[in-house]
């Protein structure tokens, strides 16, 4: 049924720290690896070694330059995957019931055997979180690694989404955002986590932690200009070279 649940028991999702992400794309690669080898249709590539490579990815990292009114520009790496929205527009548009939001944990999934590949859910998603696989002709999206987080065959430390497990910078956090006492909820509270495109009314579960203000250089002492420069006129061989070159 593609109507959305009134509410979900948990709100599992990610918190992404834009201050910490270094833009290494390790989450992109681990996501592609895990989701190609495990649940559902593999994530295909077209012309991977040719002139026009293209493929299905459930997680992509953008990089933005942000120029403040004063001072230097900042470069911010911006990982983006499904935000597992509470009011997921991708679910309600689905004509077949293939797209659904789970009542138990709020994860938005696609039942691939019911997907007719019409693409309307990708149209309805403002975040570009859904991609039609060009080989399997079904819609692919982030599953929040549903086949890892409850998987008792994996060591407990690995029971989190592979992007979170892989991130070498610790920029990605996984947990229950419906529980105000969870570590992720506390993190969102402390750092002022935000929703992407809030005006779209999707109520995303995933939150983004904005970059913290940059350190400013401490003010230089007023007497500093009166100090002797540390490096004076060159002496010795360098002094001779300097004079010789100036004469030429």
């Amino acid at each position: 049924m593609t109507t959305l649940p009134e509410q979900t028991d948990k709100k599992l999702g990610l918190v992404i720290d834009l201050d910490t992400c270094v833009g290494c794309h390790a989450c992109v690669i681990s996501c592609k690896g895990w989701n190609t080898e495990n649940y559902g249709a593999p994530l295909s590539d077209q012309d991977p070694y040719g002139a026009n490579p293209s493929g299905t990815f459930l997680n992509r990292v953008h990089s933005y330059e942000v120029q403040p009114d004063q001072g230097t520009a900042q470069l911010i790496h911006f990982p983006k995957s499904c935000l597992h929205c509470e009011d997921a527009p991708c679910v309600t548009v689905c004509p077949t019931g293939a797209s659904y939001k789970r009542v138990e944990d709020g994860i938005v999934l696609v039942n691939e055997s019911d997907c007719i590949g019409c693409g309307l859910c990708a149209w309805a998603c403002p975040y570009g979180a859904r991609e039609m696989d060009q080989e399997e002709k079904v819609m692919k999206k982030c599953t929040l690694c549903v086949d890892r987080i409850y998987n008792e065959n994996l060591p407990e430390i690995d029971r989190e989404p592979v992007c979170v497990r892989t991130c070498p910078a610790g920029a990605r956090h996984f947990g229950d955002l419906g529980d105000p006492n969870s570590a992720v909820s506390q993190l969102v509270k402390d750092r002022g986590g935000v929703d992407l495109m809030p005006e779209q009314g999707t109520k995303p579960v995933n939150k983004y932690l904005p970059p913290r203000p940059k350190d400013a250089l401490p003010e230089i002492d007023v007497l500093a200009p009166y100090l002797d420069p540390v490096i004076g006129e060159p002496k010795g061989f360098l002094g001779w070279l300097d004079k010789a070159l100036e004469k030429i």
Partner: protein, 290 residues
């Protein structure tokens, strides 16, 4: 948005077909026997042909039957249900007209209502999408419905009604373009809201996630042809509106009527191409594009 030919043909031709079915269902023109067969054949060719062409863009058309199940929430599912209901009802009604010389009025009116509902549900598939601000307005269903009624009237041979409705549809089309041009700016969605980095400074896309293209860019960021949009709008309006009305004002002649229909269809096809090609999906903002 990528202007997929299958979807353009579907929406234009099924719109015309169901538009004609609306008129036939209401008993205008009051045909029976052989001429009723001709009218119904044209309507069904257009409506069913359009529906079949729409399945060409599906990844798995063999599962299309599943699309009838989610009418409670999905406009696409509602469209599928309405289309089949309209075709079955109008089929029975047409059977009466063609073979039994009988006019089952209630059946015809019901069929007409479901035909209107089909065109409306088609338009709502687009109008519901907040992600495409240009489509997300009440003018979108008005645009689709007015074109369908006008095209239907033209095919049904209703000269006066067709002329008036075509002018009305042209006016609505013009308004749709004028209002549509402002929609993205009015939606409040921009790179700042997409990234939420706007409070630091001006956001510019520095590096895309991949050096190559991807599904999202192919499907949602179609910029080819936008530079000719102005000319194409004029061409569309002349073909869909002015030319057919001029031809209808001349003394009636079947050849002129055929030209009026051809011009109208070519115009609507152009307008529908622009409907997709000019539509900006907000996901393009993440790529610094629109």
């Amino acid at each position: 948005m990528h202007p997929a030919p299958s979807v353009i043909f579907f929406s234009v031709f099924s719109g015309l077909g169901f538009g004609l079915l609306v008129w036939l269902g209401l008993g205008i023109p009051a045909v029976t026997g052989g001429s009723a067969f001709a009218f119904f054949a044209i309507a069904y060719l257009l409506a069913v042909g359009g529906l079949i062409s729409s399945t060409f863009h599906l990844g798995h058309p063999e599962r299309a039957l599943k699309a009838f199940s989610q009418w409670r929430s999905s406009w696409l599912s509602r469209e599928a249900c309405c289309a089949v209901a309209a075709l079955v009802l109008m089929g029975l009604y047409g059977l009466g007209l063609v073979f039994f010389d009988a006019r089952w009025t209630l059946l015809g009116v019901l069929g007409a209502l479901f035909s209107i509902a089909t065109v409306f549900t088609t338009s709502m598939i687009y109008a519901q999408l907040k992600t495409v601000p240009r489509w997300h307005m009440p003018l979108t269903p008005l645009n689709f419905l007015s074109l369908s009624f006008a095209g239907g009237a033209l095919l049904a041979g209703q000269v006066t009604a067709a002329a008036i409705l075509i002018l009305l549809a042209g006016g609505i089309q013009l308004l749709t373009w004028i209002m549509g041009d402002k929609r993205l700016a009015e939606s409040g969605t921009d790179m700042a809201s997409a990234t939420r980095l706007g409070n630091i400074g001006t956001v510019r896309a520095f590096e895309p996630p991949h050096t190559g293209t991807n599904y999202l860019l192919r499907e949602f960021v179609h910029v080819i042809g936008r530079k000719h949009a102005r000319k194409l709008r004029i061409i569309a309006l002349v073909l869909m509106c002015l030319l057919p009305v001029l031809l209808l004002l001349l003394p009636f002649n079947h050849i002129l009527a055929v030209f009026a229909v051809l011009a109208h269809v070519a115009g609507v096809l152009t307008a529908r191409w622009l409907f997709f090609a000019q539509a900006e999906h907000v996901v393009g903002l993440y790529y610094g594009k629109r």
